[in-house]
């Protein structure tokens, strides 16, 4: 099964909509609650990152019998040093993002913690692609 969503950069009112839809879908499919939580936390972190740091993005969800693969592709500034960005506490979030309750530099490490496979590709001034896999 495939699902697709658009993300608007900077628009915090809609941040989380896609993650919410995916959560409902996984519930309907009868996926175990703890597993759903891991998947949607990781997806939500990635979705908020696009809203907070990029211009626009797209989420592609692919559900198979034993796993879910989620790709978050954005157009944006990109991440110059992914290893640095993966460290807890590293953040370049703006004041506006912090006012929304984000920008602690915990998102990427938290995505790592909540997924079975994580791959991040990024090109400065072009964008970032985050791909994650969770087994049911």
């Amino acid at each position: 099964m495939n699902l697709e969503f658009e993300i608007a950069g900077g628009d915090f009112t809609k941040a989380g909509y896609a993650s919410s839809q995916v959560k409902k879908m996984l519930k309907q499919l009868g996926v175990e609650a703890h597993c759903i939580k891991n998947i949607v936390i990781a997806l939500y972190e990635a979705e908020v990152n696009v809203v907070a740091h990029a211009y626009e993005g797209q989420i592609l969800v692919h559900i198979e019998s034993d796993k879910i693969t989620t790709k978050i592709i954005d157009k944006g500034p990109g991440i110059p040093d992914i290893e640095q960005a993966m460290q807890e506490g590293y953040s370049t979030a703006s004041k506006k993002v912090r006012e929304m309750g984000f920008g602690a530099g915990m998102g990427l490490p938290n995505i790592k913690k909540n997924t079975d496979k994580l791959q991040i590709q990024s090109k400065v001034d072009e964008g970032t692609t985050v791909e994650m896999v969770n087994y049911f």
């Binding site: 915090f12 009112t13 941040a15 989380g16 993650s19 919410s20 959560k23 609650a33 939580k37 949607v40 936390i41 939500y44 972190e45 929304m100 309750g101 984000f102 920008g103 602690a104 530099g105 915990m106 998102g107 938290n110 913690k113």
Partner: protein, 114 residues
């Protein structure tokens, strides 16, 4: 600790989810930072926060947090209320500071996450 007891301790009003008034909550977590809330792996949690916007509700939805108390007299907006109702959440509003609310709940026996 029962939701009704929390209301009493914090001079709080239930904004929605009154049907949960007798539900028992084990632990509390106080934060204005949703980034930190998302790192928790705790069930049956009360979130005590002064961050009063739609992202508080969204974050709680993702983290399976059903009970939220907004401190410092913050008021829940109509948009927040709609999303909370959709997710069967229970929202409270308290006039106390985050510090005072947390202290009172801890003293009365609500457990910390860590």
């Amino acid at each position: 600790m029962q939701v009704s007891k929390i209301c009493e301790l914090l001079a709080a009003t239930i904004i929605c989810g009154e049907e949960h008034a007798s539900a028992k909550i084990e632990r509390g977590f106080s934060s204005d930072l949703m980034s930190d809330v998302l790192t928790l792996d705790t069930d049956n949690l009360l979130l005590i926060t002064g961050l009063c916007n739609l992202q508080t509700i969204r974050t709680s939805e993702m983290a399976d947090i059903r009970y939220i108390v907004f401190v410092r007299n913050k008021k829940v907006t109509a948009e927040m209320l709609a999303l909370a109702n959709e997710n069967n959440m229970c929202l409270l509003e308290s006039p106390y500071t985050l510090f005072k609310a947390s202290g009172l709940l801890y003293q009365a026996g609500l457990n910390p996450v860590y």
